[in-house]
């Protein structure tokens, strides 16, 4: 639902003295696009911010762990004849391609549509931009599963991205459940934890 159909600028790009922009993603989580309760999920600021992320009953988010440089997220504006949109692209370097990891990748190859939550190194002046969500509106599909035994230290590069024609209305969306602590609590409460096999 469009919150505002005004297409005029309504403010300035203010100088943020003392703030230095930083690159990098500290943490990453995958969510199945179908597991998001879009009736309950709330956005604001023309859809650029998520103020309440609601999952369907029993749904969980899945951590995507990697080395420091192995997590990446980006967006690019796609200018179209019938409206502009954004392509979101999320990259994960899988350093251990075991049985579990191979199965997860195959789930994506078989059509899994995902959204990612990213904890950014640059959290903004007050931590308000700490979390960014990619692919919330349309979900992202796998575009790359690249493995070469003699390159990149034998790691796998996994990329999911917005499908052509399904561009998002906004760039990566900032996400806050009210405060940084509330957002972190949300993550901890909704994080999937594998069941340890009985000894």
């Amino acid at each position: 639902m469009a919150e505002n159909c005004n297409s005029k600028l309504a403010g300035s790009f203010a100088k943020r003295c003392g703030h230095k922009a930083k690159a990098g993603v500290k943490e990453k989580y995958y969510i199945n696009h179908d597991d998001i309760d879009f009736v309950g999920t709330q956005t604001a600021r023309r859809g650029t911010s998520v103020t309440a992320l609601v999952l369907k009953a029993g749904a969980k988010i899945y951590s995507a762990e990697s080395v420091n440089a192995g997590r990446k997220v980006m967006h690019a504006l796609a200018v179209g004849d019938y409206g502009n949109g954004y392509t979101h692209t999320d990259t994960l370097i899988v350093t251990y391609r075991g049985e579990e990891e191979s199965e997860r990748i195959q789930e994506l190859v078989d059509g899994g549509r995902v959204v990612t939550i990213n904890r950014m190194v640059d959290g903004g002046e007050n931590g308000e931009t700490s979390y960014k969500i990619a692919g919330l509106e349309s979900g992202m599909l796998i575009t790359n599963d690249d493995y070469d035994s003699s390159a990149n230290n034998g790691t796998t590069t996994l990329i999911v991205a917005t499908k052509e024609g399904e561009e998002e209305a906004t760039g990566l969306k900032s996400w806050s459940e009210g405060s940084l602590a509330d957002t972190e609590t949300w993550i901890s409460e909704n994080l999937y934890e594998p069941v340890e096999p009985e000894p």
Partner: protein
């Protein structure tokens, strides 16, 4: 139908301003400023979402409708019919597949209950729910998590948090799943203390 109101978002000054707006002509409201120097239109764009949930500041064709709705809005009448449910400020519930949506202005008890029955995770969108919500929801609800059970005794979130507090375990967890997760991560010593505490309660 029991209607909810957003009028609680209005300050005393806003209420006064609303009365002034009601007494002004359409031309005055669209072309002139209030005595505080602010154009009436700016006040309208600020007051309207406080009461009705959303506004389009770039849609000139909608301005007559906004003015008309504000002029007809009776905050006192709305307050007298407050419901037991209250959404967080700015929360909009779309009805998927239709152009309809609910905010505090038009939310009814029935709609709120149906909304929560669809997914209990939506509870966090409310700042106020009836005390007997569980009873109202009955068993007909999509629960994401199970109960909090310690030593075969069932606890609600508050009680479980209190128990954890009494064994010096602080947590921000606000859901059943979160509390269960905290409990599952307790050390053996903490688990023992918790069990003893619950056993003590059983004896009381």
């Amino acid at each position: 139908m029991n209607q909810l109101s957003r009028s609680h978002n209005l300050t005393g000054k806003d209420e006064e301003l609303l009365e002034i707006i009601k007494g002004c002509s359409y031309e005055t409201l669209t072309k002139k400023s209030h005595t505080d120097g602010t154009p009436f239109l700016k006040h309208i764009f600020r007051l309207y979402p406080l009461i009705f949930g959303e506004v389009c500041t770039g849609c000139p064709s909608k301005i007559p409708g906004y003015i008309s709705k504000l002029k007809n809005f009776n905050s006192k009448k709305m307050e007298s019919t407050k419901s037991n449910f209250q959404l967080k400020k700015g929360t909009i519930i779309p009805v998927f597949g239709t152009s309809k949506s609910y905010s505090n202005q038009n939310l009814t008890d029935e709609v709120a209950l149906e909304f929560l029955k669809g997914n209990l995770n939506r509870r966090k969108l409310f700042v106020k729910v009836p005390d007997n919500l569980d009873e109202l929801l009955g068993g007909d609800v999509e629960k994401g998590n199970d109960e909090i059970i310690i030593n075969e005794v069932s606890f609600d979130i508050e009680a479980a948090r209190d128990l954890l507090d009494r064994i010096d375990v602080q947590t921000n967890a606000k859901t059943i799943f979160g509390i269960n997760k905290v409990i599952s991560k307790l050390t053996d010593e903490q688990k023992e203390s918790l069990h003893q505490l619950v056993e003590g309660l059983k004896g009381e």
